[in-house]
Amino acid sequence: MPDNANASSLTAVHDHHGEAHAAHNPALLHHFVEEQQQRDAASLGMWVFLGTEVMFFGGLFCAYLVYRRWYFGDFAAASKTINMSLGATNTAVLICSSLTVVLAVWAAQTARKALLVSMLILTMVFGLAFLGIKGIEYKDKFEEHHVPGASFSFENVPIPGHPGQFANPRHAQMFFSLYFVMTGLHALHMIIGLGIFAWLLVMAWKGRFTPEWHTPVEIGGLYWHFVDIVWIYLFPLLYLIDRHP
């Protein structure tokens, strides 16, 4: 912002904007010169935060990829026992929720309050549906004794494509360890996302968002998209290791 502007005229513009908008918009915080600066800061802040999230999940993906390469057969066998159709359904659910988020942002930009509220609710419904389906999957794994720990059992499961060979239970347990950590952390991010959207919903209900100021919807949406994208990578890596028609 400061680079490309003539200094003195910029100051003049600030003053004008500051007075004009301070009256309208209590959302402009004292330490920003103008709304544009505040919006840019919030948006850059979220992008930078998502960068740290990429690294956070990146460590997990790295560990997963190393072991998947080492123990491919065992991982493929273990992967076959998780429910691909539930995973695929969840992928569809999340993609739909991304659409509703985009519509919510558009509704905020164009001052359609009813649409904004309903899209936020719909997004949360999709989010809850995702977590519900995930819960069913976890319950299945629990009943099949595929949760790592003392009661873990993975005996005599054949390795796909290698008749007569059985998966090493210890290595299958590593698959499930990573499966639970990765999908668990992803689910935690979903829960946080639901919290953010609940707050956005309250704000939208009260009519706080205007076409001039709806930054929380935008950066909340960015966060939601990011969590979706993580799932877009988790699904093929965990569910589709060695599937053939």
């Binding site: 680079d3 502007a5 910029l10 330490h31 930078v48 560990a63 072991y67 290595h171 950590v181 952390l185």
Partner: protein, 529 residues
């Protein structure tokens, strides 16, 4: 009291950080003292082996995660980044306050962990010892460090956004003080590195608490993978500690030699280069861990490469000093101390990048001495130099210059006496982390020297704390710009008003315009007679 605990003013948050990190510095220092006392005699007579393991672990964890990493960024950076770029505050003042609370929560958990038993793995948490064998409080220490890590991430995030979005009109990227460039590079490392160590600690804690199999070779896991993930953060973390210090030293050297920094752009971009290269050298901590010799060769080469930007800085500082009108005030003494000690630390780092020497001195006191020259000789010297340089701005008072020079001298002597003997000890083969060296009593003389040095160093660290506190009440009031320094932070009151500047500054000059600053003075010199 509440006005402090609920403040969103970056300057007050900086002071909250100052108090908390000083507290942890003295806890870490206490553990260091115990280590040095134990090593005074060859026999293990002060503490038991298990206790000694816990002592050096807690020393490392407290000093690294709760003192060095937040030291300059969270105190001086917090105070100065908005002021140097002419902003009223950081971009996210509430997140800034949140980061302090997160730090305190992490710190309290760490204290609880220490009081109720501590950890004995060394600060590195190596698996599978940490995941399956030790029965100390790994999970709790992990939680403490995980939480403190988020404080570091939020600080970095705030700095990056602030530097991008909050600069005053006319404050272009090439007019930024190099302190800002250093903090920008530091923030990038904090942002990209910290999440990786966070997730690694999550995995260790999950493996330990929930019996997942990830790093334990018994379950098919790979302990070397743990080391890769750990050092992917923890090597760049060294640059989190040293880069801000380099920024401080740059400011001090320009001010006290009254000169423009030689090669501004080289110094600026060498900070970024250090941040980038710093991410590509982590496996030099693992040369004896069983990695392939080819990858060891590559990492050895890259470790040499990371010395280049550091050397660029040292040469540019030296060139700045050349023909400057140098004043030997306390901040400059620390800067000189930094130059010498960082150079020794950096050059011994090159020894360690060489595969042959590395294998010879791995896990000896040579390594211990090397990283203390960087972290204490480098980072802490810069921190103290910066605290003296900006103390008049922070407190509005002058510290007693004579005492400060004396303290700088004591720190320098004490430091070298503590750690130089450790280079020799390590090269002769004394392993690190031993509490009992009774089968090699010939090492005692050097260990006694080192312990004596540590005592002197301790006095050197206590002195500034005493006279800083003293000056808050009895020091002479400081003018706005007692050093006649360049930089926006000196163009406002000492201490600065809540929003830093009475009116938004407009920048039309380059950083370090000392020639211009001093020019009017020359004209004013009265003709003799």
């Amino acid at each position: 009291m509440w006005s402090w605990l609920l403040t969103t003013d970056h300057k007050r948050i900086a002071l909250l950080y100052l108090i908390s990190i000083t507290f942890f510095f003295f806890i870490g220092g206490f553990f260091a003292l115990l280590i040095r006392l134990e090593l005074l005699t060859p026999a293990g007579d002060l503490v038991q082996a298990d206790t000694y393991n816990k002592i050096f672990t807690m020393h490392g964890m407290v000093m690294i995660f709760f003192f060095l990493i937040p030291s300059i960024p969270a105190v001086l950076g917090n105070f100065l980044v908005p002021m140097m770029i002419g902003a009223k505050d950081l971009a996210f003042p509430r997140i800034n306050l949140l980061s302090w609370y997160i730090y305190v929560i992490g710190g309290v958990i760490m204290l609880h962990c220490m009081i109720t038993g501590g950890v004995d793995t060394g600060w590195t948490f190596y698996a599978p010892f940490s995941t399956s064998f030790t029965n100390t409080k790994i999970v709790e220490a992990g939680i403490a460090i995980f939480i403190a890590g988020f404080s570091s991430i939020l600080t970095g995030l705030n700095f990056v956004v602030t530097i991008h979005r909050m600069r005053a009109p006319g404050m272009t990227w090439s007019r930024l003080p190099l302190f800002i460039w250093a903090h920008y590079a530091t923030s990038i490392i904090q942002l990209l590195g910290t999440p990786v160590v966070a997730v690694t600690i999550v995995l260790v804690a999950a493996e330990r608490a929930l019996h997942l199999g990830i790093f334990d070779p018994k379950l098919g896991g790979d302990p070397v993978l743990f080391q890769h993930l750990f050092w992917f953060y923890s090597h760049p973390a060294v640059y989190i500690m040293i880069l801000p210090s380099m920024g401080v030293v740059t400011e001090i050297i320009a001010c006290f030699s009254r000169k423009r920094i030689f090669g501004y752009h080289f110094v600026a971009f060498s900070s970024i280069a250090i941040a980038v290269f710093g991410f590509l050298v982590w496996a030099h901590h693992m040369f004896v861990a069983g990695i392939s010799v080819y990858s060891a060769l590559v990492f050895s080469f890259l470790s040499y490469a990371v010395a280049l930007p550091s050397a660029i800085k040292v040469f540019n500082w030296t060139a700045t000093l050349y023909k400057g009108s140098i004043r030997y005030d306390a901040p400059m003494l620390y800067a000189f101390g930094f130059l010498g000690l960082f150079t020794i630390g950096g050059l011994t780092g090159l020894f360690l990048s060489a595969l042959g020497i590395n294998v010879h001195v791995t896990d000896t006191y040579f390594v211990v001495a090397h990283f203390h020259y960087i972290m204490v000789g480098g980072a802490v010297m810069g921190y103290l130099g910066g605290m003296h340089f900006w103390w008049p701005k922070i407190s509005g008072r002058l510290y007693p210059e004579g005492w400060a020079r004396l303290a700088a001298l004591i720190v320098f002597i004490g430091f070298n006496l503590t750690f130089f003997p450790q280079f020799i000890l390590g090269y002769m083969g004394m392993p690190r982390r031993y509490y009992d060296y009774s089968h090699m009593p010939e090492f005692q003389v050097l260990n006694v020297l080192s312990t004596a040095g540590a005592t002197i160093l301790g006095v050197g660290y206590l002195l500034p704390m005493v006279y800083f506190l003293w000056s808050m009440r009895y020091g002479k009031p400081a003018s706005d710009n007692p050093w006649n320094a360049a930089g926006l932070e000196w163009k406002t009151a000492s201490p600065p008003p809540t929003f830093n500047f009475d009116e938004e500054p407009v920048v039309t000059w380059e950083a370090y315009n000392y020639e211009e600053l001093d020019a009017p003075h020359k004209e004013e010199v009265p003709v003799a007679g």
